[in-house]
Each structure stands twice: as structure tokens, then as C-alpha cells.
């Protein structure tokens, strides 16, 4: 615990933010970010993630609470003295300056010598592989190149921290994936702390050390990508990250880490992992990942059901099977394409899952 607090580089302490004095956009946010970490704030629009980022950059002030950077409270420091780099949503490159001038801007306002400026600009351009584009204007570059310039500009003055506000939102899918790796590699190489905001979960999973899932102004869960995916703590996280099959029911009994849940439509009783539930008799939502369901066998005899194949979608590496199970005809199972799958639409099929793979969570609001 002690070592962890020592490593804390950015600390949000009990942050509230309200624009109109009535509705809280961010509620009681506590978040610690270690030096060199890549932390993503993930959430739907209006969840408070961008507001949080703007408070860190200094463009918004918290209503309550304090933000610490390297142990120092920064609420009273204006944005231009925070030494925090930022990549904006639409890059915010200055259209009347060339790429070089854009990159030299943060160095010039710091009164750096001409030679040093030139040197650093060149290095930054080489880092993003745009060495030959220095004399062009932003409008003469493609979207991906502009993105790289924006990245280079945010890094060129060696800030203590880099913020990125949906930087890949304007790019097409292929380019977006390529840039995700590129940003990740740059992060690995120079070891700078990055706070990244996105609403795209695959982007978050690809790049981050840890992800803070935002909804409704609250951090729903803060964890590493694998834990978020495999062990979501509430129904929002389970639903927002990756695909899941949901069933609702009420709790019949509890023992140790498990509980028995009677499904609402009387389709049977499921044994599930007890994660985020109330007492016996209360409602719960069950969540199981499509790839954790096995078809055609009894398994160890627990949680065995029968379903009807509604639709088969061939996706190359796996086959996506839509089933009607327990009255839910949106039940998805992903079967690895090993050549042994031989069911047709309309067939009845047995399926089961391990109680450890199905999680009993809260009901969504």
C-alpha cells in the first residue's frame, strides 16, 4: 500500500464537477495514476470522462476536491504552466503555421534557443516518421499524418504527462488500429504517463495498462483490461466491454461464493458466481461471455440447458451461433472453427457453462 502511494503521479481526490450547480457531471472521483502508466477513461458520451480530462488539463476547475500532480495540488495553476501535453479531438493544429512551426510553437514560447528548437522539432518529426513533411501546412496532410503531428506537438516539449481526448475518432478503421499500436509503441519507448479518453472499448483494451470505466459521472470499475473483461463488477461494465449474454432472475439461495438464481420466465435454475448481489429473494442480472458457453455436452452436469439454433454466422476464425435459450432468443455463442461444428439452423442443442463463468450482478438502472 505504501509503495503504491509513493508511485502515485496523478491523484484525483474526491472530485465533484457541476456546470450548472445542480447536476453533477463527475461525482466523487478518486483516481490514482502511477508514473509511466497508460490509463484510459472509457465510457459513453456524457459520462464525465472528457470533463475529467479537461480538469486535469486546467480548462475546467473542479467544484469540489483537488487534483495532485506529482504531489502538488494543481487546481490553482493555469493551463499554460501545467506542463501537460494534450492531443485534441480534432488535433487543433494551427492552420497558418507549417508542421515545423506548429511543433516549434511550444518551444518558442518557452524561449528555447533556435538551434535546440530545430533539433527537437526534427527529433519529434522523426519519431512519428514525418521527417520530410516539416514544411507542409496541416491542410496538406492526410488525417493520419495530422494525427501524428498533433502527437509529436504534444510530446515535443517533454511534458510531464500527455492527455489524449479521443485522438483517433476522426480516422477510418484501419488507420485507427494502426495508430493504436503506434501510440502504444511510442508510450513504451519513452515511458511517459498517458491519460487517454475514448468511447471505443477495443481501443481501450488494446492500448491501456488500466482502464477506468465511466458512467453517469462515476467510475464504475478501474482495472486492467483482462480483469475488466473477465471479471466485471457490475452489469454496466459487463455490458459495455465486450459481448455478454444477459438473463434476469431472483436469488433462491446462497452458499460460499455462489448463488442459485431462478430465471424470471421459469426456465430453470442457474448456479452462478456471487459478485454484486443483494439478499435472497432479490433480483439479479446474470452475465456470461459468448465464448465461455460450450455446446453439445453436459459438462460436469451443472447449468445444462437446451436451446434451438436460430442463426449461424460464419466469421472465418469462429462461428457465431444465435440460440433461443430459456426464452431468450438473443443468446450468442462463439464456437472456434475447428472443423467439427455440424449443426444446422433449427436444430436443438445442449449447452452448458461453468458456474465460475457466469456472474450474478446488479440490475441495470
Amino acid at each position: 500500500m505504501n509503495t503504491e502511494t509513493e508511485k502515485t503521479f496523478v491523484k484525483f481526490e474526491k472530485i465533484d464537477k457541476s456546470y450548472d450547480g445542480e447536476v453533477l457531471v463527475v461525482k466523487n472521483l478518486n483516481l490514482d495514476i502511477a508514473k509511466g502508466e497508460f490509463v484510459t477513461m472509457l465510457g459513453p458520451s456524457g459520462s464525465g470522462k472528457t470533463t475529467t480530462l479537461m480538469m486535469l488539463a486546467g480548462f475546467e476547475t473542479p467544484t469540489n476536491g483537488e487534483i495532485f500532480l506529482d504531489g502538488m495540488p494543481i487546481s490553482k495553476i493555469p493551463p499554460y504552466e501545467r506542463e501537460i501535453g494534450m492531443v485534441f479531438q480534432n488535433y487543433a493544429l494551427f492552420p497558418h503555421m507549417t508542421v515545423q512551426e506548429n511543433l516549434a510553437f511550444p518551444l518558442e514560447v518557452r524561449k528555447m534557443s533556435k538551434d535546440e528548437t530545430k533539433d527537437k522539432v526534427k527529433k519529434a518529426l522523426d519519431m512519428v516518421e514525418l521527417g520530410d513533411f516539416g514544411t507542409r501546412f496541416p491542410a496538406q496532410l492526410s488525417g493520419g499524418q495530422q494525427q501524428r503531428v498533433a502527437l509529436a506537438r504534444a510530446l515535443v516539449f517533454e511534458p510531464r504527462l500527455v492527455l489524449m481526448d479521443e485522438p483517433l475518432g476522426a480516422l477510418d478503421k484501419n488507420l485507427r488500429e494502426q495508430m493504436q499500436y503506434e501510440i502504444k509503441h511510442i508510450h513504451d519507448r519513452i515511458g511517459i504517463t498517458v491519460v487517454y479518453v475514448t468511447h471505443d472499448q477495443s481501443e481501450a483494451l488494446t492500448m491501456s495498462n488500466r482502464i477506468a470505466v465511466f458512467n453517469d459521472g462515476l467510475v464504475q470499475q478501474l482495472s486492467t483490461p483482462d480483469i475488466l473483461y473477465e471479471k466485471p463488477e457490475n452489469s454496466f461494465v459487463a455490458q459495455f466491454i465486450g459481448e455478454n449474454n444477459r438473463m434476469t432472475g431472483s436469488i433462491k439461495s446462497m452458499e460460499n461464493n455462489y448463488c442459485s438464481v431462478e430465471l424470471d420466465n421459469g426456465a430453470g435454475i442457474v448456479k452462478a458466481l456471487k459478485v454484486n448481489v443483494g439478499d435472497v429473494g432479490e433480483k439479479t442480472q446474470l452475465s456470461v461471455r459468448p465464448e465461455r458457453v460450450s455446446l453439445g455436452s453436459d459438462g460436469d452436469g451443472e447449468n445444462v440447458f437446451t436451446g434451438k439454433v436460430e442463426e449461424l454466422i460464419y466469421l472465418g476464425d469462429h462461428i457465431r451461433v444465435r440460440l433461443d435459450v430459456c426464452g431468450n432468443n438473443e443468446f450468442i455463442v462463439k464456437v472456434p472453427n475447428e472443423g467439427s461444428f455440424n449443426y444446422n439452423e433449427g436444430d436443438s442443442i445442449k449447452l452448458n457453462w461453468n458456474p465460475d463463468d457466469i456472474r450474478a450482478l446488479d440490475l441495470p438502472k
Binding site: 493551463p79 499554460y80 506542463e83 479531438q89 494551427f94 511550444p106 514560447v109
Partner: protein
């Protein structure tokens, strides 16, 4: 077409040549070195053309002749009467020269004959010379007008000066307003936009007259200043019927032409640019100066050029609030167009105005680049 017609008219001198074709023909043969006065043939041709010429045509020609030298009108009218009388009686003189000189002794004055030399060609630059306070002397040399007749050069300078000032003040006043318009939340900016456009919906004359009410010595502003004790009662400022009045009223009237292009350019500058600049370490003032201002140059140029062009040719407002020394070149054009009917001079003044504009446009293109203009 109208511009071409105007340019032609500014050098056109054919009317008078259709009235006195023979006179001018003979006139050209006159050797001024040898004879002090033109030969007998010139007098004869003039006699005949005055005797049988169309009265209206001759009248128009007289107006033209007076531009070259005053006194022509009365001289010819005078002489015409004598000639008509003689013709009626069928008395043709032996010497037309003697007859004319007898009718009016000015026909023996060579300066009138010299002045005729300016009219004998179908084209004349005289209107242009007049427009810059020049005229001919008796030997056909171009000289400056007599001191008390010089008005245009002074007015040209004043017009340019006022236009530059008005453009400058519009820029200074318009920039913050446009900035507010572009950055306020929609419901406030809509209201502000109505205030900006309101003057367009009011008659120009009403606005100008309102300024007279505001600015005159017993007017609203002086009244308030005296009431506040800032001015003494006999120290009232004279802000109207002079250049100050022209400047104030024109700035107010032309302000929207500066605000609107500026606004449309500012509106599309993303707000994230100022944030990005600050994030990169620039203080707000530096961010404004280095990042925001350069991006508004297209709007400033468009607005500036627009205001300047309008200001340089403005005439109603300076005419009304300018008094004597606030008059601009546009007022003179209107005056000659409607009062003296000297359309040649009007056309010449207009052509010079056009040329001045083209020079500014060219200069502007050299310095800023015309592609940099943006209205939206």
C-alpha cells in the same frame, strides 16, 4: 458598359466639334508664331456656324467652352445676337474679323483664341487636369489652378485620409464585437447580431440625421458632458459639420461591413485552438497574438477592403454632417452631376476614384494576397 461609357465621357469632346467643325478646321491652320490673331477664314467660319447653328447645340457647346476659360459664354451670346441681326438684314460684312471685333472687342483678345486650342480635338484630357486642380495656360502648357480655385487635390487627400481612419476605427471597434458574436452562446449572440444589423434596417438618412442630433453643439452628447460638469457651457465641442462628425458617423454606418466578414471568419476558428496554444505553454495573450489573430487576417482584409471601398466613394453622410470641411470627393461628383451638369468632370473624378481603388487593390494583393480574402 456604364463604366466604359463613363471612361469615354471623361475624355469626350466631340459635341463641340460637331458645332464648330469648320471653325476648328481653319483654326488649326493658324500659325500662332506669325500672326497674333487668327486669319480671316477662322472668323468667317465662326460667323457662319454661329449664324446657322442649332441653338440648343450651340448652348451646350458654350457650357463646354466655359470650362476652358470663363467669359466664353457671354462673349458668344453677345456676338450671336449681333450676327443674327446682321443676317436678318442680309448684311454680310466684308471683313468678318472686323465685324466680330466690332461686335465685341474680346475677339481681339488672343487669350480667348488660345483657349479655343483646347477644344479642337475630339478627345481632351482637360477634365482629368481639372480633377487634380490643373489647367492650361495660354500657351497650352499644363499649370496648376489659381490658388483660390484649387479644391480637388485637397479633397482627394481628405477623402483618402478619412477612408483610412474610418477603416482603422471600424477594425478597432469591430474586432471585439465580432469576437463576442462568434463566441457568445447562441441566444446572446443572436440578440447581439440583431443590434449589429439594426442599422441596416433603418434609413441611412435617419441614421445620419440622428448623428446630427447627437453631436451638435446643443445636442445630446454635449448636453450630457456639460451636465456632468466635464465641459463648461461655452466650451461645447463642435463635433458635427466638420471632419470629426464625418468620421464618427461614417464609422458607425460602415461598422457592420467590418463586423460581418470578421464574424464569419471567427466563427469557424475552433475554440480548441486557443486551448491548444495554452496547453502548449502560451499565456492567453500570446495565444491570442500568435494563434488567433493570424487566423482572422482573411476577415480583417475582407472587412477592411469593403469598408475602405465604401468609405472612399461615400457622399450622403459627409454631405450632411461634414459641413464645409468634411466634404469628400463623392460630394463633388454628386454636385457636378446634378448641379453644374459637368458630366465630363464627373466622369474624370469617377475614373480617378476607380484608378485609386485599383491601385489599392493591387497593393493589397502584393502585400496580403487576394486569395486571403474570405467572407465566410
Amino acid at each position: 458598359m456604364p463604366i466604359g461609357d463613363m471612361l469615354l465621357r471623361s475624355v469626350d469632346d466631340t459635341q463641340i466639334n460637331t458645332v464648330f467643325p469648320n471653325t476648328f478646321e481653319e483654326y488649326k491652320k493658324w500659325d500662332k508664331e506669325q500672326d497674333q490673331l487668327p486669319p480671316e477664314e477662322v472668323y468667317k467660319a465662326l460667323f457662319q456656324e454661329l449664324a446657322y447653328g442649332n441653338k440648343i447645340q450651340v448652348g451646350r457647346a458654350l457650357t463646354r467652352m466655359n470650362y476652358s476659360k470663363s467669359g466664353w459664354k457671354s462673349l458668344i451670346k453677345n456676338t450671336s445676337r449681333a450676327i443674327k441681326k446682321a443676317v436678318k438684314k442680309d448684311e454680310f460684312p466684308d471683313s468678318y474679323k472686323d465685324f466680330l471685333i466690332a461686335a465685341n472687342e474680346k475677339w481681339a483678345d488672343p487669350t480667348f483664341w488660345y483657349a479655343m486650342g483646347q477644344m479642337v480635338n475630339n478627345q481632351t484630357p482637360i477634365y482629368y487636369y481639372n480633377a487634380i486642380d490643373m489647367t492650361y495656360d495660354q500657351d497650352q502648357n499644363v499649370i496648376r489652378q489659381k490658388e483660390n480655385r484649387r479644391v480637388y487635390v485637397q479633397t482627394w487627400i481628405k477623402t483618402l485620409k478619412v477612408s483610412v481612419y474610418v477603416t482603422f476605427f471600424c477594425l478597432i471597434l469591430g474586432f471585439p464585437v465580432a469576437h463576442l458574436l462568434a463566441n457568445l452562446p447562441l441566444r446572446y449572440s443572436n440578440l447581439l447580431m440583431i443590434f449589429v444589423l439594426l442599422p441596416f434596417w433603418t434609413s441611412l438618412l435617419v441614421r445620419t440625421t440622428a448623428w446630427i442630433v447627437m453631436l451638435q453643439q446643443q445636442g445630446v452628447i454635449n448636453g450630457i458632458l456639460v451636465w456632468l460638469g466635464i465641459l463648461s457651457d461655452d466650451g461645447r465641442l463642435s463635433m458635427v459639420y466638420n471632419e470629426t462628425g464625418t468620421l464618427i458617423a461614417m464609422t458607425q454606418i460602415l461598422l457592420p461591413f467590418m463586423i460581418l466578414p470578421l464574424y464569419s471568419v471567427m466563427r469557424v476558428i475552433p475554440k480548441s485552438h486557443m486551448r491548444a496554444a495554452q496547453n502548449l505553454g502560451a499565456k492567453p495573450a500570446t495565444a491570442f497574438w500568435k494563434v488567433y489573430l493570424p487566423q482572422t487576417i482573411p476577415g480583417m482584409s475582407a472587412g477592411g477592403l469593403l469598408v475602405f471601398v465604401l468609405a472612399i466613394g461615400y457622399f450622403i453622410t459627409p454631405e450632411l454632417v461634414g459641413g464645409k470641411d468634411g466634404k469628400l470627393i463623392g460630394s463633388w461628383i454628386a454636385y457636378h452631376l446634378k448641379t453644374t451638369l459637368n458630366w465630363g468632370l464627373c466622369a474624370a473624378l469617377g475614373a480617378i476614384l476607380l484608378a485609386v481603388m485599383l491601385i489599392f487593390y493591387w497593393l493589397y494583393n502584393k502585400i496580403v494576397g487576394i486569395d486571403n480574402i474570405k467572407l465566410g
